[in-house]
């Protein structure tokens, strides 16, 4: 069987280098056409009427006024009389009209009568939850005996609320029918799987559904499905006989199109006199809206902690169901665990890095974390600058350092890639993947160009279309491994076919030949070679086309990474305002394809992390059941000046590169909440038990007033 592998370090021209992303110019000039930018001829605009009540039954719906409005083409009832609505913002009806303004008028003209039913939206107080249900209890070892024998124990109640994905391009699509063939320009993370889902709902064969996503404006785990508005958009287009653009308005986007589940827990943790963790007891709960939510992985990272008991309660609420949010469950588990361990270190009188280090054998990758803690500590001058809690202040401003560790899998997903070599030397890859902003287009091109010894601009990559070979949805940091492995296998096979044709001309065996620097030549004797163009001409009149797959043979990818982050903050104890001064991230992800893009992923994770640590939360109104901040004024993202100085250290080279490619999108967003919370505790001397670390919560903690629940 043919060998599939990455080139050795001294033979890499592009892999591991820092080329700029290939779609940078079209994006920075506004020439990139996103799904929401598609304006086909005859386009209609669609708007959705949503339910204003968190729980209600529709007792009547009258669309006649809307239907009579000039410019209205189709009025479509999504949920009619008798339907029970379970969250505010759920879709009731939709209108397609000649302009957005007319569609909005028409939506407003639809009259719906509701029987309003009782609702529940505030899960942090689970005692008041009508439908809370036990969702698992397990124990290992003898926690009661271990707590009784322990040297120090801490008990904390901590939590973080639901928050939004807040994709800047809202969810939605442009649907066009040509007979019974449907084309959808969708803002999606799942080009190859969407067609089947549309087809099932619409009663057409999947082979007649085309999905196109050349560019898309962010997903973060919320854009894997056609969603109801996708199906409705296609129905509207079918009924109207015209293309229909349906993208959610911002309030709808925030309310129904993606949230991260909340997580709360009362946790006890204990250590012995040597500062070794000996017992854990957590009683957790949380909500992902109507479906409730499962147990987060506690205790996080230190999963071999002996003597532990876990209980979990799922708390359904009358809010739209949560979606996978970048590194599902991990940021929550990380905050709950690392905050308690940090408090325990303080109780033991230990430097938290020292405390973590003493317990690394309870993790799955002690050596990695030890190395990363040392590097991160060095970058932060931790040994010189860290002081026990509450000792670093200048007037009202207190400073603090906090640390956290995290882990992720990141194995490459199922992927197929067609690589074609044309007789004129043109090389292209076609892959049913999507570039959601991570740089997929660029890394596929790097692998392709590297394999054929060409420059990046000499190869062509086509993606974002389900006519190309199936490649998995972009989620869970699975894309980089999947697409680079399938592309490399296809490219290596295609090159080998070319070399079979070239070898006789060079009087060599195909196995002796290599491609590099725009040439094909005998390995070790560059004078015996020819240009790539000349080499390609040897294949005859027809192109060579090969499909590569993942999973497949050869060690191209693996999974399992560790990361360490350190946060440095300033807290004004008079105003309660927290400022992140500096974030340090040390991260491994195996073989890095593109250093620049990899670092961008980590910077992005840190910045998103500052957002949920300090600002971001869904605020449901217990009275109306609606979100109070379904906008961008009061649902606050971190801005350019809010994120402090960011420093990233990627673990690469021997010991990391040979693991192959591992995903990176999720890991860097996991630790910031914990690291920043720990830095605040270090600064002010008490734990602020709740994220985000808003001024009121900081002041409450300083005044010794409560936490959640």
């Amino acid at each position: 069987m043919a060998d599939y592998s990455w080139p050795e370090a001294d033979r890499r021209a592009l892999i591991g280098s820092r080329p700029a992303r290939l779609d940078g110019p079209v994006k920075s000039t506004g020439f990139a056409k996103y799904p929401s930018d598609q304006n086909p001829s005859g386009l209609l605009a669609a708007k959705i009427l949503t339910c204003p009540h968190a729980h209600a039954r529709i007792v009547g719906i009258d669309t006649s006024a809307a239907e009579a409005m000039p410019g209205v083409r189709v009025v479509h009832v999504i949920q009619g009389e008798g339907a029970e609505i379970q969250w505010a913002g759920d879709e009731v009806a939709a209108v397609a009209a000649v302009t957005e303004e007319v569609a909005r008028d028409a939506v407003r003209a639809i009259r719906v009568d509701y029987e309003v039913l009782p609702h529940f939206v505030t899960e942090e107080n689970r005692d008041g939850a009508p439908d809370a249900r036990a969702a698992g209890e397990r124990a290992e070892g003898d926690p009661d005996a271990a707590f009784a024998a322990a040297h120090r124990t801490v008990e904390r109640t901590l939590g973080m609320p639901q928050m939004a994905h807040m994709c800047l391009e809202p969810h939605g699509q442009v649907c066009s029918w040509d007979g019974d063939e449907l084309e959808v320009h969708a803002s999606t993370q799942a080009v190859s799987t969407l067609a089947g889902q549309f087809a099932t709902e619409l009663g057409v064969p999947a082979s007649q559904v085309r999905i196109r996503t050349e560019y898309m404006g962010g997903g973060f785990g919320s854009k894997f499905s056609p969603d109801r508005w996708g199906i409705v958009g296609a129905e509207l287009a079918r009924k109207a006989g015209a293309p229909v653009k349906l993208f959610l308005e911002r309030d709808q986007e925030v309310t129904v199109a993606g949230s991260r589940p909340s997580a709360f827990a009362r946790i006890r943790a204990a250590a012995d006199e040597q500062g070794r963790l000996v017992a854990w007891d957590s009683d957790s709960w949380g909500s992902g809206g109507l479906p409730g939510t499962g147990q987060t992985p506690l205790p996080y990272v230190f999963s071999r902690l002996p003597n532990r008991r876990l209980r979990h309660t799922s708390v359904p609420t009358n809010l739209a169901g949560s979606r996978a949010w970048r590194a599902p469950n991990h940021p929550q588990a990380c905050f709950l665990t690392m905050a308690v361990l940090d408090d325990l270190a303080d109780e033991l009188g230990l430097d938290p890095i020292d405390f973590l280090d003493r317990n690394l054998d309870l993790t799955g990758r002690a050596d990695t974390y030890r190395e990363q803690l040392a590097i991160a500590g060095e970058m932060a001058s931790w040994k010189e600058r860290w002081q026990p809690r509450g000792r670093t202040r200048e007037g009202a401003v207190h400073r603090g350092l906090g640390v956290s560790v995290h882990t992720w899998g990141g194995r490459g997903h199922s992927s197929n890639c067609d690589v074609t070599v044309h007789p004129d030397g043109a090389v292209e890859a076609r892959i049913g993947s999507q570039d959601i902003g991570t740089g997929t287009r660029t890394i596929v091109a790097q692998v392709l160009a590297e394999t054929f010894g060409l420059e990046l601009h000499e190869v062509r990559v086509s993606l974002g279309d389900n006519v190309y070979p199936q490649s998995g949805p972009s989620g869970g940091s699975s894309t980089v491994g999947g697409v680079t492995a399938s592309t490399r296998r296809a490219a290596q096979d295609a090159l080998r076919e070319v070399l079979v044709h070239v070898a006789p001309r060079l009087g060599a065996e195909p196995e002796q030949l290599v491609a590099g620097g725009g040439r094909v030549f005998v390995d070790g004797d560059a004078s015996r070679g020819m240009s790539w163009r000349e080499a390609a001409a040897q294949i005859g009149g027809a192109p060579i086309s090969v499909q590569g797959r993942n999973p497949g043979p050869g060690r191209l990818i693996s999974s399992g990474v560790g990361g360490v982050q350190i946060a440095e903050v300033e807290v004004d104890v008079e105003t309660g305002v927290v400022r992140v001064e500096r974030m340090i991230a040390v991260q491994d992800c195996g073989l890095v394809i593109n250093r620049r893009l990899a670092e961008s992923q980590v910077y992005g994770g840190l910045i998103m992390g500052v957002g949920y640590a300090l600002y971001e939360e869904w605020i449901p109104d217990p009275v109306s059941g609606r979100l109070l901040n379904a906008d961008m004024e009061f649902y606050k993202l971190a801005g350019l000046v809010d994120v402090g100085s960011l420093e990233v250290h990627m673990m690469t080279g021997p010991g990391y590169d040979e693991r192959g490619v591992i995903g990176l999108g999720e890991p860097p967003v996991i630790s910031p909440g914990a690291a920043i919370s720990n830095a605040v505790a270090n600064a002010i001397g008490v734990r602020v038990p709740y994220l985000p670390l808003t001024p009121d919560r900081v002041l409450d903690a300083l005044a010794g007033r409560g936490g959640p629940a």
Binding site: G24, S28, L168, S600
Partner: protein, 212 residues
């Protein structure tokens, strides 16, 4: 009365009396064409309670150097007019509420939120969107610097950031921290590209990046 209102011959009060939504700050009459489709009288007398709309009003404005004529209802924002009527889709609709800056365009050289402007307010004015600054083959220095510093991921906030950055650097070639905050604090990114954007701005002083 503001200069703008004087120029348009329409007072703020009379505009609001007309029942059209929103506040006036642009030169309405300057770009209004006589005999528009809805039959609204050309606005010439500040004393008369003239009205425009609610039907479409014919206007003329310059977009990326080209003169564009169209009829829009007064309630249509500049952003929606650009995107939906003129197919100028560089400016993005994200918050639609003057918070995120993804719709930032230059109006007569000044950065504005296109979502918070009625298109008729821009009548007679010159609008430059991100597409008007440069093209993939002939990028503006700021666009080039965004590429080189990887100041973009999904790219949906990028058009607004590029325009705001160009405007900032045009006024302050080597901006202070306060000037950066004032110039770019009104733009938001979700992927987390601020490190690259900051490198664009801070590299501008000596890096050959210029605004305008």
């Amino acid at each position: 009365m503001t200069d703008d209102a004087k120029r348009s011959g329409l007072s703020r009060r009379s505009f609001l009396c007309s029942g059209a939504a929103g506040a006036l700050s642009g030169g309405l009459a300057a770009g209004l064409l006589p005999g528009d489709a809805a039959g609204a009288a050309a606005v010439t007398d500040a004393e008369a309670p003239d009205t425009v709309g609610p039907g479409p009003v014919e206007i003329e404005l310059e977009v990326n150097g080209a003169t564009r004529r169209l009829a829009v209802e007064p309630r249509v924002t500049l952003l929606d007019g650009l995107r939906d009527r003129l197919d100028v889709t560089g400016p993005k609709r994200v918050c639609d509420r003057g918070t995120c800056g993804a719709c930032t365009v230059l109006e007569d050289g000044r950065p504005i939120y296109a979502c918070s402007r009625l298109m008729i307010e821009s009548a007679g004015r010159s609008i430059t969107t991100v597409e008007g600054l440069g093209s993939p083959d002939a990028m503006h220095d700021v666009q080039q610097a965004f590429v080189e510093n990887d100041a973009q991921q999904c790219g949906y906030c990028t058009p607004g950031f590029v325009v705001a950055t160009a405007a900032l650097l045009a006024r302050h070639p080597a901006p202070s921290e306060q000037e950066i905050e004032a110039g770019l604090g009104g733009n938001l990114c979700r992927c987390g590209t601020y490190k690259g954007i900051r490198a664009v701005v801070e590299g501008a002083g000596g890096g050959g990046v210029s605004g305008g």
